[in-house]
Symmetry: D2
Subunit: 270 residues, 4 copies
């Protein structure tokens, strides 16, 4: 569905199922379409709300540079319109960064926060990794090779060679699409300067933080940092997975996410 922002730009979103809202903020290269296999299980007991950020999927493209702010305010306009309940907010990677900032800015609108493979800052290192991505945009295969192997664990990538090769075939045309690539550059650049390290202690909703052993984009010390500074948080470490947990361990991903969302009891008198 289309939602028109006050700026005139349109956001694409989908709503599936009924119940307590569960909102998904995509990773940078993802879109609502990426969650196709997950819509069923994630909407069984929740109203699942999928959103394409600006410059993602079927949402409008931007034309110049912006910061995370733009995305935060865009999804805020949309969510304020489509639900009056505080939401379970799940974000992964780029989406996790937007989710943390959304929760800081609109705490009353967030019931629970679930952060997979997320960091509290765009470090100088991550900025240069982003620059590597941008530098590779001139050639679809260069873009594939610079981004994709980095996102999976070496174990998964190697053991699922055929699947990765098919994925390459699917992705190369997309990575050759100038409109997609310009959007990717803007999305990547929008993360520069992101830093909420000093503000995490303001968060007080129940928060789940999940990291992975072979996450080479947002390495585990970033999730440890989030867990050390967010008051009411839980931390899970997934052995042998890379940055894209939902693709490497889809069943485990869904189990962990649904488990935390569905759990109502927060105080245990032991």
């Amino acid at each position: 569905m289309q939602f028109t922002l006050s700026s005139g730009k349109k956001l694409y979103y989908e709503m599936h199922g009924k119940g307590d809202p569960l909102v998904i903020f995509n990773g940078i290269m993802m879109s609502t379409a990426s969650w196709k296999e997950f819509v069923g299980p994630l909407s069984e007991r929740n109203q699942l709300i999928l959103i394409d950020f600006l410059d993602q999927g079927q949402s409008d493209k931007m034309s110049g540079p912006y910061r995370h702010d733009l995305q935060i305010e865009a999804v805020r306009e949309l969510l304020a319109e489509v639900t009056d309940k505080p939401v379970n907010l799940f974000g992964i990677s780029y989406g996790g960064e937007i989710a943390v900032q959304y929760a800081l800015r609109y705490p009353a609108a967030v019931k629970k926060l679930i952060l997979f493979n997320t960091s509290a800052e765009t470090s100088y290192w991550l900025e240069e990794v982003g620059n590597a991505w941008n530098k590779a945009t001139h050639d679809p295969e260069a873009y594939y090779l610079t981004t994709i192997p980095f996102i999976y664990s070496p174990l998964f990538f190697t053991e699922n060679r055929e699947w990765m090769e098919k994925r390459k075939e699917i992705l190369l045309p997309l990575f050759g699409d100038e409109t997609f690539i310009q959007a990717m550059i803007r999305l990547t650049d929008s993360s520069v300067g992101y830093d909420v390290k000093d503000r995490l202690s303001e968060l007080d909703m129940p928060t789940l933080i999940v990291g992975a052993q072979y996450d080479f984009v947002t390495p585990f010390y970033q999730q440890e940092y989030l867990n050390d500074h967010i008051k009411d948080s839980e931390l899970i470490y997934v052995p042998k997975s890379g940055h894209a947990i939902m693709y490497e361990k889809p069943r485990l991903f869904v189990s962990i996410l649904k488990g935390f969302v569905s759990e109502m009891k927060t105080t245990y008198v032991l």
Copy 2:
């Protein structure tokens, strides 16, 4: 409730809620009473079946030595009586060991297997740890000091000093109860010789394996072994927790357990 076994011995069990059965096999020092705070959340959407093993809680005491076999067959008799559905079988530590063997012997009766802090063998090391426990049975405080600090992570134990001290007060009289202590000795000794390392590949139900960073009883390499040898398994590592995850991280424990039990979708076409 009481269930009379063919041997004449009585098993105590409880059933709470409705839905897909979720059976709990206790850790060695636990009983149905240990799950009081968890009954609510775990029976929300499942028929929760709590059981005291022989020599635990309100079940009958034995008088001489036995092996795991006795417990496996006892719970088998009970479960065959109270449900005709394959169950979600959750075991922790001692209960996890019984659960693995139950699933090997009665695979059709087990829908999913959830193993927290479980190993595939009683190693020589673990046998000597058990002997340390038995050697300390002459004195309630010795028994407390030999068993309890070992079961929690040093972090939790130190940060929750007051709670641990209260727990000590509660446990000392129990550890001075000769009937309880003799039962503990028999339970401990029943694990000697346990070894299913070579049979794990026979298991084919969806299995979740959870280990913890500071588990000093069933250290993480044991859960890695289970995960490496059980075909359809997922592995989670809980940072900063000890052996007794459900006490150190109760909300996370419930989330992870319920999430895996409730998840129906097993095949993802990505």
Copy 3:
């Protein structure tokens, strides 16, 4: 050799080889005799100084309780006498705790600090572990079972069953010796109240910190704490080893220790 302290008590020590002094502060249950196999390699290029703390090995026994202070001042008297050079100070476990405090009190006397399996405090948890040890002193086998399996990794203990059984035979008579056992109780109790967490930043000598994956006495977060707070420190993690690294990985232990001691270059302009 015997050294008479100003208190009249005698310390036993040994000196082997020539060169830059390398002093060893023993773990709690150790003595100069424990290093027999290591004297050769460790005295090749260093003047190796082995010392029995009071209540250890061939040093005098005490009769009442004391704190770490007593040991620190005793070894200070000895070292001030036998060498006028700053020493390479290596301590493991109990010896590491004394070493940290010695370096804080006599920084000019310490050239380098090498801490294996050491913590910056006797946490409430470790205090209760010590109490478990003390409670088991009535029976040699209870003492063995309560202390020894805890000190080795489950892997090593299980794979070297025969060696452990021989060790048990050797240790049982010792653990039945009332003089030894009373000394062990005093040594154990002398650690209560130890806490240098807030003083580590004062240290500025080159420091090497080594921890182990299955160290169940001084778990790895303790070595991370030391490394995070000692300015000029390096950190090594030994996979698959327990608390007693020098017995589980003797060659690796010697390599790491000698390598750090012999290394003169501290500044690299890269």
Copy 4:
């Protein structure tokens, strides 16, 4: 110095100091010049032999593709000429791969093997990472961004921003040098097909294997594999370091390497 191979190609090498030979096999992007700061400490008690592989540093460039074989035979010719003693063979990354194969082919020529950040195979994943490097060769900055951030830990890279920026300035002209870049492509491609997983059990010299927590090129499971399959090996894990341990932790690197090389005692009767 120059050494002329039977093929007519020239290898550049350096010899420093006296004693038991210690040979260094460089990482792919390195040369003898990379070890400038390490020559002093590493030649104190050893005859240090530095070598530029073909296509590295001051050795001759090749003109077409080749496999590891070429490098193995080239260094074999050189080493057979310059020393008649078995050598301590240290390799890092690419150099570690050549070292493993050299030790398999010429076991009598290798006294000890020291492998930092090495894997037993070029996995499909690593092959694609290599392809990413090759794809970025058209632009010095693209090459820098695709290779360098990947080689350091995010922690080091971020905390040493100024140093990294200077390094960038130094490297950009080099990465713009067509001769250097063509050599890098050939070196990278020479690793395709490398796989000694099944042959590791043939090695029987004392071997030290070192890995790092944030090594994103040869992740730690690769060093675990080496350690599990090489009979007489020791394993060290360096927390908080990336692939380039010698730059991130130079003093620790030298300590570990020298410690293992200098250690003569291999059998401990404990």
